[in-house]
């Protein structure tokens, strides 16, 4: 258990800036997730901490000590891989024992700790199996046991669930979370799956093109995205790009103009709103003062059981997706109908079209 500090980490590959001045602090015992699309630098960052990649600039500190010059095999760091990386020629027990025998622990201590670690991942009694006799989910549990049995200072996980099918993924996700909680081990977790990141993490770092876009709790990242990229990447979001604003901050887009003080002095804004934050009403219904109204025609309705998605073509041009929770039957017959979308100003996200940065909070 240890605090991890990343100071001004930079790394480039020919033609790509893989990591651009990354500055992060992971608190002791925290479950910290690096989230981003492939190629965003999250795996590079994780492998830098693991010691498989040497950064060109900056330093990595674990518990206040620089570890940059320590080779990977002397860093006390547990690693869980996307492709499990179970040693196929060793039994489950030998896999888990490997790290301890490298540390020259006495034999009976190894046996004891291996048994305990396998019990912890609910694989008690599997010690003598060979990896190819196990399912993917079980193999990843072995990977987890093997990584935690050495009592590492930090646990690193590189998309550990992305090779599993949906049901197993949810199950193992919860197990990982519980295990981390009970051991209290500082964990750096990499994923491209935003839902996974929201569910599992204490804090999330959203990355794009080698840069940190936002660090925050799952709620902050979802409800107050710091950049347009975060807004679009985490959860589903409607984006209406680059609208004109007058000097007083009045937005003339929609059924009735609305003035937003925080937009005063700007000439353009990009709006974003979550699918579930809009209300669908009849085209004639009055617009509340604290909301923006957009009129349009229902293009398509996709029914998905407990919810339905409406695709609305706005009179002003762009298409918008809206979400209806527990749709009633009559609502599904509205294809081609005119309706009005009510967007509460408090739920609107506004971004500077030039920089992509968030503009204050609408309230």
């Amino acid at each position: 258990m240890a605090r991890v500090e990343l100071r001004h980490i930079g790394k480039s590959y020919p033609g790509v800036q893989a990591l651009d001045d990354v500055e992060l602090a992971i608190e002791s015992g925290e479950f910290f997730t690096l989230l981003g699309p492939s190629g965003c630098g999250k795996t590079t960052l994780l492998r830098t901490v693991a010691g498989f990649i040497r950064q060109e600039r900056g330093e990595v500190l674990v518990a206040g000590q620089r570890i940059d010059d320590i080779p990977a095999y002397r860093r006390n760091i547990g690693l869980v891989f996307q492709d499990y990386a179970i040693f196929p020629h060793m039994t489950v027990g030998d896999n888990v024992a490997f790290g301890l025998s490298n540390r020259r622990r006495p034999r009976d201590e190894i046996a004891q700790r291996v048994t305990r670690a396998l019990d912890l991942v609910r694989l008690g009694g599997y010690a003598d199996r060979l990896p190819h006799q196990l399912s993917g989910g079980q193999q990843q549990r072995v990977g987890l046991a093997r990584a935690v049995v050495i009592e590492p200072q930090i646990l690193l996980m590189d998309e550990p669930l992305s090779n599993l099918d949906a049901k197993l993924r949810v199950e193992l996700r919860d197990d990982i979370r519980d295990l981390q909680h009970s051991l209290g081990i500082t964990t750096l977790y990499v994923t491209h799956d935003q839902e996974e990141a929201l569910v599992i993490s204490d804090r999330i770092c959203v990355m794009h093109s080698g840069r940190v876009h936002q660090v925050g709790t799952p709620w902050e990242v979802y409800a107050q995205p710091a950049t347009l990229f975060v807004a679009a990447f985490v959860g589903a979001m409607n984006v209406i790009a680059d609208l004109p604003v007058d000097a007083a901050g009045t937005l003339s887009f929609g059924a009735e103009p609305r003035t937003l003080p925080m937009l005063a002095g700007r000439d353009r804004v990009t709006l974003a709103i979550r699918l579930e934050d809009m209300t669908l009403v009849a085209a004639t219904e009055a617009v509340p003062d604290d909301a923006l109204a957009l009129d349009g025609v229902v293009d398509k309705i996709s029914f998905a059981g407990r919810e339905a998605f409406y695709r609305v073509r706005l009179d002003a041009g762009p298409q918008i997706q809206a979400h209806v929770h527990r749709p009633e039957r009559h609502l599904l017959e509205h294809s081609g109908a005119r309706l009005r979308l009510i967007l509460p100003l408090a739920r609107l996200h506004m971004f500077d079209p030039a920089t992509g940065r968030r503009i204050g909070d609408a309230s």
Partner: protein, 550 residues
């Protein structure tokens, strides 16, 4: 209502396959076993032949020498092949594919070229010996164990190299990183994780080197000097006492076969639990070495491969030197080629005719059997699959003697004909074609044929119109590889040939024994050129490249 198995086309193919395997393989091997336990004169059952081999010092020596040669050739091949594989897959080595191609060429070149090329280089008048003497190094005499092991190590290292390299290329880097993150330093990681993972491949390569070393006949009889081996002993017993003591020759063959079988079984046992097929999300990426280390790595790699290619280079060079008979003159010329075209045109023609004939048979039957083994999982198909492993293990000398024992008496008296040579080449190389055909079929989804049938094509039409065209590149590549081994075959041909049916390798062998270096080199160069051309075509049509050859 019909309870009988349906007699369709494929049942017919299966029946033909069993007849072919029974007549051309099981029967001869059975005959040689019988011959080894029957007294030549009385015809009674006896174990006297085996008693003599195990009791007589000369035969004991042959057995022990064979084991030394097999082990030595294997160790030599591993000492060259494993470092080459590790360096070329783990680090950035310029010209990696050139190295692999040269290794393939060394592998498929005529088997005994190495032996006589090394005599030309390291023999008492060899230029390399003179060169080494100038810097104060005196290598041991080339004739004897040193020459045999040198030739075998450099001949068979590509098996170890290519198999190990391909295995190293299929280990996910995650596995090695996992070991490292768990505290295993570079050496411990290599010996505890990497090496065990490539062990099946390394041991398969080593096994091939061992079996081929003790089975090889040309090399030890050219460069072996006084060193007697099982293969050469069996051959001498047979030729020296034609019709006199086939029992002892057969028994020697059986001992040789037993050694090969034992080693194969041991290797199978050693890799029994290693069913290792990981998912490959990540492929290993070669690392860039620092300049000094990189220079050393390059020198090691190129030195090994160049040493392996040296015999071929020497042979080609020699073939263009001016000669008259065994005497070389200064300068270059094409006298050697004029001589082979004038003196032995029928030998060249024979080689091409026999190889082509056997390859046509191999391609047709191999494709059909391959189809059955890949698509029909019946007991009979499984049995056939196992029987086809046998030719991999049986040394050429043994098979040659078995053919003579079996086919020089009625009902099938074909010794001295071209047919016996063609059939021998056919049965020895058939399994290779079957295997390549099976592996192509595994890549062609069965569904595609079902699609054709659902669209109204009969099963045979579906095979001919859809599956066969998809298999074609693989069939051609397999046929060319069979052609390479067929045209370079020495040991069995040497036993089966008569004057009319002499082939190029036999002629080269006889020329070398007579000291006709020019003739030998020119014929060898023709073989090398044909082989190189075939390898080139295989590279063009097969995406497996060098791994197609092991």
């Amino acid at each position: 209502m019909n309870r009988l198995p349906r007699l369709d086309f494929w049942s017919g193919v299966l029946a033909v396959a069993f007849v072919v395997v029974a007549v051309l393989m099981v029967w001869p091997l059975y005959s040689i076993f019988t011959a080894s336990v029957i007294d030549n004169r009385s015809g009674a059952w006896t174990l006297a032949n085996f008693a003599q081999i195990l009791g007589h010092p000369a035969y004991q020596a042959a057995l022990i020498n064979s084991l030394i040669v097999g082990t030595g050739g294997m160790i030599g091949a591993m000492l060259l092949g494993i470092p080459l594989a590790v360096l070329t897959t783990r680090f950035v080595i310029a010209g990696r594919s050139v190295l692999a191609t040269l290794s393939v060429l060394a592998l498929v070149s005529p088997p005994f070229i190495g032996a006589y090329a090394w005599i030309m280089m390291l023999g008492s008048n060899g230029w390399m010996r003179a060169l080494l003497a100038d810097v104060g190094i005196v290598p041991p005499p080339i004739y004897g164990m040193f020459g045999i092991l040198l030739a075998f190590s450099l001949k068979f290292y590509p098996f170890v190299f290519l198999l190990t390299a391909s295995s190293l290329g299929s280990i996910s880097p995650s596995v090695e990183e996992a070991a490292e993150s768990l505290g295993a330093g570079p050496w411990r990681r290599f010996f505890k994780v990497t090496l065990p993972l490539v062990f099946p491949a390394v041991s398969s390569g080593a096994l091939l080197a061992f079996v081929l070393s003790i089975a090889d006949f040309g090399t030890p009889s050219i460069v072996g000097g006084k060193v007697r081996l099982l293969a050469t002993t069996a051959f001498d017993l047979f030729t020296a006492e034609m019709g006199g003591n086939p029992g002892l020759a057969s028994a020697t063959s059986v001992v040789l076969l037993a050694v090969c079988m034992t080693v194969v079984v041991l290797q199978r046992w050693a890799v029994r639990r290693r069913d290792i097929a990981g998912s490959l999300l990540r492929r290993p990426v070669p690392r860039r070495l620092r300049p000094a280390a990189s220079a050393v790595a390059h020198i090691v790699c190129y030195a090994i491969v160049l040493a392996g290619s040296l015999p071929s280079i020497v042979v080609i060079y020699t073939s263009f030197r001016r000669t008259s008979g065994p005497v070389f003159h200064s300068g270059f010329g094409v006298e050697s080629y004029a001589r082979i075209l004038g003196e032995v045109p029928h030998v060249i023609a024979n080689s091409f005719t026999y190889a082509t004939a056997s390859v046509v048979l191999i391609a047709i039957l191999g494709t059909l059997i391959g189809y059955i083994l890949a698509r029909r999982e019946t007991v009979a198909a499984g049995l056939l699959d196992n029987m086809l492993l046998i030719p991999y293990i049986v040394p050429g000398v043994v098979m040659g003697l078995a053919y003579v024992v079996t086919f020089n008496v009625p009902p099938l008296q074909i010794t001295g004909t071209a047919a016996i040579i063609v059939l021998m080449l056919f049965i020895r190389r058939l399994p290779y074609a079957v295997r390549s055909s099976t592996s192509i079929l595994k890549q062609i989804k069965g569904g595609i044929e079902e699609a054709a049938i659902s669209l109204g094509a009969s099963p045979s039409r579906a095979f001919l119109r859809v599956t066969l065209p998809l298999m074609m590149p693989g069939i051609v590549a397999g046929a060319l590889m069979s052609f390479i081994t067929a045209i370079n075959e020495l040991s069995s041909s040497l036993i089966l040939y008569v004057g009319r049916t002499m082939t190029m390798p036999v002629r080269i062998y006889l020329s070398v024994l007579d000291g006709q270096w020019g003739t030998a080199s020119a014929l060898s160069t023709v073989l090398l050129a044909v082989t190189g051309l075939a390898v080139f075509v295989v590279y063009r049509i097969s995406d497996r490249k060098e791994s197609a050859f092991v």
